[in-house]
């Protein structure tokens, strides 16, 4: 045990002292909230990188796509490792198209529907990949304050019990316990506020990218169906 807390348990209001004097439940809540905060920020950073990169790559891919390059060439250059959702969408659609053609299909009747289905599935998968773990942000954002509040309530309960035991209500006796208890709420808020803010921001961002993907899918399927119609 920390020797300082043994000497002056009431006066130790440092961060470590606040943590160390707390009840075991409050300690667990503090640790949990700290870990939640770490996790939230990890997700925030990762998503920031992921969404930014995705947006840039999609921009680049669209540029290439509309530059008049032949689709076959584009498919050949992109298909080994599609780097962004749009490319993945493109590759999935092209693969379906080629499979039908190169398999020597006799009828192109159901091809358009198949392509659209494939693209839908791909979009769903890609959007899911983009918004994976955003739910963690939402959970932490909504439940973090409550968890912190639980720690506070518990800490205040124990500090009131301590008051009752010591029969002394001077502020010097009460204050450390309450400070320690409020520390839990502070941690909860520290975890929850960025989680909520970034959750909202990322949900909007993911929706925007999903819409962009769907728009691209529609355009691409229009192109493909035009090709199909020309060949039949």
């Amino acid at each position: 045990m920390n020797p300082e807390t043994l000497i002056a348990p009431a006066a130790d209001v440092t961060l470590w002292g606040l943590f160390w004097q707390a009840h075991i439940l409050v300690k667990a809540i503090m640790i949990g909230l700290t870990l939640a905060s770490v996790w939230v920020w990890a997700i925030v950073i990762d998503k920031w990188i992921l969404l930014g990169r995705t947006k840039r790559q999609m921009d680049r891919f669209e540029e290439v796509f509309w530059s008049g390059q032949s689709l076959e060439e584009l498919y050949r250059s992109v298909s080994p490792r599609p780097s962004n959702p749009m490319a993945t969408l493109f590759v999935a659609a092209m693969r379906e198209w080629k499979r039908t053609y190169e398999g020597g299909a006799r009828s192109l009747a159901g091809l358009t529907e198949r392509i659209e289905k494939v693209m839908d599935v791909t979009i769903a998968r890609e959007v899911d990949r983009l918004e994976r773990q955003l739910l963690v942000l939402a959970s932490v954002g909504s439940s973090g304050p409550f968890i912190g509040l639980l720690g506070t309530v518990w800490g205040i309960m124990t500090s009131f019990q301590a008051i009752a035991a010591s029969k002394n209500t001077s502020l010097a006796v009460v204050a450390p316990g309450i400070a320690e208890a409020l520390f839990a709420t502070a941690l909860g808020l520290v975890a929850a506020i960025p989680a909520t803010i970034f959750y909202n921001k990322y949900v909007i961002e993911v929706n925007r990218q999903a819409q962009r993907l769907e728009g691209f899918a529609d355009e691409f399927s229009a192109i493909l169906s035009r090709q199909i119609d020309e060949r039949t």
Binding site: T14, S37, V38, V40, A42, I45
Partner: protein, 296 residues
């Protein structure tokens, strides 16, 4: 996931480490509430007035108010400045030296200013002076403080007291506050017997009478309804005789007010008053003022 968790963990460790170091709670600067020492002081000690006598002369305390030093100067050369200083001497707070020699030294100073020639005449008292006189005119250009001090040893009194003559206060000193300086010590209450009812006992008497008094409610011009009664008590606190009305009022309600006051005095007997001071409260005057109930 890798960069995120790394950066996040590192950032949290940084913040927590900083918090461990910097989250030193400095105590609030609320000064501890000091225990207020409470003494029980009988109010009478503070309120009992000493007897003032009319025969003593009123001690006019000297007011060390600063004179406007710059004005009375006859605009002389800068050497004349020290001349002003001895003028202030009577108001100086220092123990006054024998005045005549001081005045003469002043005259001498002035003489020196006006006539640089050594004039041994004006002071027949100081015989040994003439031998010292001649060098003085040469020093005249110096500060005039020095001549005073060189001449002082030839006086019959010691130089320390001469130095005390000098007004060392700066000419620009501010006026002293008048309230501070005009404190009169000879004033006293005309009835200022040492043995008299203290304020708290008067309060007690008031409270007793007030409990019984129904002041005339709603009467106009309450200031005209002030009733003064002379009350005489027996040692047991009852009235010796009927309270005596000491004043007359013009208000039509005055009779009502006087009646109510007399009724109150009558109703409340016997009064509990300190028996040791019977001589004091044997015969008292009480003022009944409807504005603030009444005053003793």
């Amino acid at each position: 996931m890798r960069p995120g968790i790394t950066i996040s963990g590192f950032g949290h460790a940084l913040v927590l480490g900083w918090g461990l170091v910097a989250f030193a709670v400095q105590p609030l600067n609320a000064p501890p509430t000091e225990a207020m020492p409470v003494d029980l002081v009988p109010l009478s000690e503070l309120i009992q007035l000493k007897a003032g006598t009319l025969k003593t002369t009123k001690l006019e305390e000297k007011k060390p108010v600063a004179e406007k030093v710059a004005e009375p100067k006859p605009a002389p050369a800068p050497e004349a400045k020290p001349v002003d200083k001895p003028e202030l001497k009577p108001t100086a707070a220092v123990p006054p030296p024998p005045p005549p020699p001081a005045d003469k030294s002043l005259e001498r100073l002035i003489d020196k200013m006006v006539t640089p020639e050594p004039t041994p005449a004006p002071n027949p008292v100081r015989v040994p002076e003439p031998p010292k006189r001649p060098p003085i005119p040469k020093q005249q250009v110096q500060k005039l403080d020095t001549p005073t001090e060189t001449r002082a040893p030839q006086r019959t009194f010691d130089p320390g007291r001469v130095a005390a003559l000098l007004d060392r206060r700066t000419p620009q000193r501010p006026h002293a506050a008048a309230e501070e300086t005009s404190r009169q010590t000879t004033l006293g209450a005309p009835t200022g017997l040492d043995q008299r009812l203290s304020q708290s006992e008067i309060d007690a008497l008031r409270a007793q009478i007030q409990a019984c008094w129904n002041p005339p409610v709603g009467a106009e011009e309450a200031e005209k309804l002030i009733v003064r009664l002379r009350i005489q008590f027996k040692p047991d606190g009852t009235l010796t005789r009927e309270p005596e009305l000491l004043n007359r009022g013009t208000s039509p309600y005055f009779t009502v007010a006087a009646e109510s006051a007399m009724r109150a005095v009558r109703r409340c007997q016997p009064y509990t008053l300190p028996a040791a001071k019977y001589e004091v409260w044997k015969d008292v005057e009480v003022t009944f003022d409807p504005r603030d109930m009444f005053r003793g």
